[in-house]
């Protein structure tokens, strides 16, 4: 079965990796697969969001549609939009 194509909404701090694009497409059935596809196309982007233990970094939030993703293995399900969000805090 071919992988699902999703729209990825990119928070502004990460757009230096996407050439300034706020929205890109990526292919994959799980969040992990989508992030791997993004990393292939935009090298370095994944590590700024996901640490070396495969944990989502503090203050980074991933949403499949409106469903928050806590684990990279989570499937996208019926959702076709992945939001990459930097929850800003501090001064």
């Amino acid at each position: 079965m071919p992988s699902m194509n999703c729209t990825v909404k990119v928070a502004s701090p990460l757009r230096s990796y996407t050439g300034g694009a706020a929205s890109v497409t990526a292919s994959g059935d799980t969040v992990a697969a989508l992030l791997a596809d993004l990393e292939r196309r935009f090298p370095g982007m994944r590590f700024r969001m996901i640490d070396e233990q495969n944990a989502i970094r503090p203050h980074i939030r991933l949403y499949a549609g409106t469903r928050e993703i806590r684990h990279l293995a989570d499937p996208m399900g019926e959702e076709t939009v992945l939001h990459l969000i930097c929850a800003l805090s501090g001064g």
């Binding site: 701090p13 990460l14 090298p43 370095g44 590590f47 700024r48 969001m49 996901i50 640490d51 070396e52 233990q53 495969n54 944990a55 970094r57 503090p58 203050h59 980074i60 930097c86 929850a87 800003l88 805090s89």
Partner: protein, 370 residues
């Protein structure tokens, strides 16, 4: 000399370049506006090259490299990162890259990086790919040496020193953890904290667990190291294994607490510190609101106050461990940056000072580049 002073701040990178008489300084930047910059370090083996230790808001930590004296930058392909934790093992993730050190002159593409939480990393391709130094990060004693006794801003690995006579001879420091030495290129390590106080611990005779703030090795006399510690100023002359508290010679009302220490590039007996208030609740501001640099010219047997041109009162400055530097002139200049965003310069080894920049973001590092 095309020299410049590089300022790493909580909000980006700035540079200050003097005119031909070193009287006026022109500020450039910011570059990386909004990024947290802990260190900006030039490669003495190839002065066109500079590396930056960066973190960006809530994004993960990384390293940027310039091949053109800081005009353009490229991110490391593989930033410093711990290995994947084994099952049941406490996972470690780099929160920030804190320190950068160029490798030995015989290893032109080698760099070292220190991180928070405390980790040692090595690049053998000029900072593009970084690998954990397993000899330290996975040392059987590592969990005790780097026990996570974090300072308020985290547990830092810093002051990575490479012996100019021997690429395999390394030192590093952890705040909090102590000073450690390797004589085999980082495969094995041993604590080197004899004689250093650890007033904050119940057992003051511990072998490690100390809080070195900054350690410096003299380039022309690499057996001599100086240390500004949480608990005093020290010197050691190897192969001795005991640090001597040279801060005892500081005026008692000033004390010997601070963050940075820097050395004269040509004279191993000369060092400068920037004392801060370490009494009661450790405010870590200029003692009495009267900032001063102190200099020794006899390896710590005596110290003298250098404050001409600095504010005479009501100035509660804090200068962090990477924020005091010395330039490369035979009669060296000194520069420091404050957490309030001011940069001060002395063209004459601290004898007189003047402010050369103000209103910058919180300053983390001040480094000299040629």
């Amino acid at each position: 000399m095309r020299d410049s002073i590089w300022i790493g701040t909580r909000k980006g990178v700035f540079a200050l370049r003097p005119d031909s008489r070193r009287r006026a300084y022109r500020l450039s930047g910011p570059q990386f506006l909004g990024h947290v910059i802990h260190h900006v370090v030039q490669d003495p083996r190839d002065p066109k090259v500079q590396l930056i230790a960066a973190k960006t808001g809530h994004l993960g930590p990384t390293v940027f490299r310039s091949n053109d004296r800081g005009r353009t930058w490229k991110e490391a392909a593989q930033p410093p990162a711990f290995r994947m934790a084994a099952e049941g093992e406490k996972p470690r993730a780099v929160a920030r890259v804190f320190w950068l050190t160029p490798g030995h002159s015989s290893e032109p593409d080698v760099w070292y990086a220190g991180t928070a939480p405390a980790g040692l990393f090595r690049s053998s391709d000029a900072g593009d790919h970084w690998e954990p130094v397993a000899g330290f990060n996975d040392h059987p004693m590592n969990a005790k040496w780097a026990a996570g006794l974090a300072t308020p801003d985290g547990e830092f690995l810093h002051s990575i020193l490479v012996d100019p006579r021997d690429a395999r001879h390394l030192y590093l420091a952890i705040s909090i953890g102590g000073v450690f030495e390797s004589t085999d290129g980082g495969r094995d390590w041993a604590p080197l904290n004899g004689g250093v106080a650890a007033d904050f611990l119940p057992d003051p005779t511990v072998a490690f667990g100390h809080d070195p703030h900054r350690v410096e090795m003299h380039p022309l006399q690499p057996d001599r190291l100086y240390q500004q510690n949480h608990c005093g100023i020290y010197r050691i002359d190897r192969p001795g294994n005991t640090w001597i508290r040279i801060g005892q010679a500081m005026p008692k009302k000033i004390g010997d607490i601070g963050f940075p220490i820097v050395l004269h590039p040509k004279d191993p007996d000369v060092a400068w510190v920037l004392p801060m208030d370490g009494t009661k609740v450790w405010p870590r501001t200029s003692v009495g609101g009267k900032p001063a640099v102190y200099q020794t010219r006899d390896a710590g047997r005596s110290w003298r106050r250098l404050s001409h041109g600095l504010p005479e009162k009501d100035a509660w400055l804090t200068v962090l461990r990477q924020a005091l530097c010395v330039d490369a002139y035979d009669s060296p200049g000194l520069y420091f940056g404050t957490t309030a965003g001011d940069v001060w310069a002395s063209p004459n080894g601290g004898e007189s000072w003047r402010r050369i920049a103000q209103h910058l973001p919180e300053i983390y590092s001040v480094t000299f580049a040629i």
